[in-house]
Subunit: 365 residues, 2 copies
Amino acid sequence: MASNDAMKKLELLGKSMVSEVKKGEGPTFETTLRTKSNTIFDEAVGCLRTGDKKEVRKFLSVAQARTFMQTVAIANKTRQFLKEDLHTSIRGLFYQLKFSLGEDIDEDLFTEQSESNGLIEDLEVALKIKREDLHLTTDRKGFVAGPMTILDRFGGDETIIDLEKQGRSGWSIPSDVDNGMEITKLDADYVLVVEKDALWQRLNEDKFWKKENCILVTPKGQSTRGTRRLLRKLADRKLPVYCLMDCDAWGWYIYWTIKTGSMNLAYLGRDFAVPEAKFLGVTMSDIEEFSFLDKLTIKAKEVDVKRAEEMLGYPWINRHKDWVHELKLVLKTKKKIEQDALQGERLTFVGEYINNKIKKKEWLS
Amino acid sequence: MASNDAMKKLELLGKSMVSEVKKGEGPTFETTLRTKSNTIFDEAVGCLRTGDKKEVRKFLSVAQARTFMQTVAIANKTRQFLKEDLHTSIRGLFYQLKFSLGEDIDEDLFTEQSESNGLIEDLEVALKIKREDLHLTTDRKGFVAGPMTILDRFGGDETIIDLEKQGRSGWSIPSDVDNGMEITKLDADYVLVVEKDALWQRLNEDKFWKKENCILVTPKGQSTRGTRRLLRKLADRKLPVYCLMDCDAWGWYIYWTIKTGSMNLAYLGRDFAVPEAKFLGVTMSDIEEFSFLDKLTIKAKEVDVKRAEEMLGYPWINRHKDWVHELKLVLKTKKKIEQDALQGERLTFVGEYINNKIKKKEWLS
């Protein structure tokens, strides 16, 4: 169990600090730098990750004493959560710290919205574990339906969840898909990720996952950590992962976060990335192929244009001729197109579109 | 089935317009005014609703021709969705309209985020139906666990969903909890609504719904239409509905929207309101009762203070002495307190807090 591993690592951290104190030294804490300059694109793996630059934090340093103390307090609290076998959110952790340490806590660091919580990231990176292993829950979003069964050990119960029998709702991807959770049956040909829940519902109504024997996933916008981990696990089972996103700044960002990870969370590395992912659409080139789409484009916003320009600058993107072609079309036409537009002529067209793209291997890598 | 009813109403609307044209008159469309001045608090029922002021829209009016035509186009499209027995989002509807009508459509009116979609509201109010009955899906959020079973007829399948067997994820409340969906088993003593998903997860881990024999619901922030309808249905089954929210502007707003509806969506009336709902907490008075909470308050923001002042002005709030006392405490102390703070001393305290409040009938109405 990852939690046992986490417990051992937390205790080792504590013991090493105690031994430093006993030797008459100030306690220290080594972590990997999560700065932009220490973020690299790992060519061999195909994802963003932190480099090798380390940083040693010292308790006996005016600049570092406060965050050092807070990091140790977090290690202590999460060790207690592991012992009690209870989970809480980072907001719950904030109040536990506030109760113990008083006013000296920056509350803005402990919200569901602060994707990047420096103090917890320090622990994750230093101990090479995930915050989920420390019993910290993160915001969840995203749904799944398809030929897959989950065994969920939670709160003292064992539950079998059959993702073919979830009706209109689907299965909500939890914060933690590793600890106490297993995929016990998986009999699919591929994974389809659609950006928006509305389109997921459309495809779920058409029983797309049944007809195509696929796992139908929506991250419901940007992917949560739970969704990224689940997609990684499915890719590890050798399922191809196809993505259907909007053709705009946000859609591209969602796709590339799934594929390579994001700059902010690069320290998570391959465990949260799916370099194998393919981009099915929607593409600017689709407008030429499907004439009805021509009147369903909308004007690209400044953010779309700026993002397209940025992406052309990333070496891991601009090596792909098809992506360069796409992005240049956006810059030229100043148009964008949403996945919802695929429903413009007929509600059921979207399934045919996906099926066709996969058959013809028409995707961007 | 509500959808049959919707079909009849759409066809009646069409027929009445055709007969007006045949009589040599321009077609008209009568709807109820959804202005602030025609929004009233219904004392007898205990919720906000629109008053009786009507408005007649005319096709042969320069000012109204465009929206009139669009409204008729929406009626036509949704009739087609009903015939096909397919659902789509309002964004999907937008693209269907754009495909048929061309550029003359305001896209900002058709996003998940535009809570208030004037054209669709016109139809809802005029025909006395819900947009869900027109096969339009709305954004979904919110989760449930507890002693309740759902029969979900969807996409040609019938699925039984046991809300005691959903593991860590719970059951995601869909957009439409009426059409093709039934509560087939319900054996609970009350409904508990907690504002945040993180606290719902905490209570789900503690199996609070099992220990207390209750239905555990989170709207995950502001309630969606689906969540409000579900709560109304549970209240119709004579279950008390208790709410645990943050003690701040947003928490109060979420509570009062559940209880009385909101100004914006007042036209939905009692079908989407639960006047029976009680506010368990968190309250400013809790700080006096539970000493550990004293150091877990945070500074009220301007929006909290402003909201408290506004609420003191609403006649349906300021008649309740306990609410007046609460809100004045906020104005005096300029503090607020979040539901997450209940975990500050012990993660499992929140369940005891709720149990105790209900036993002692300590709530605000």
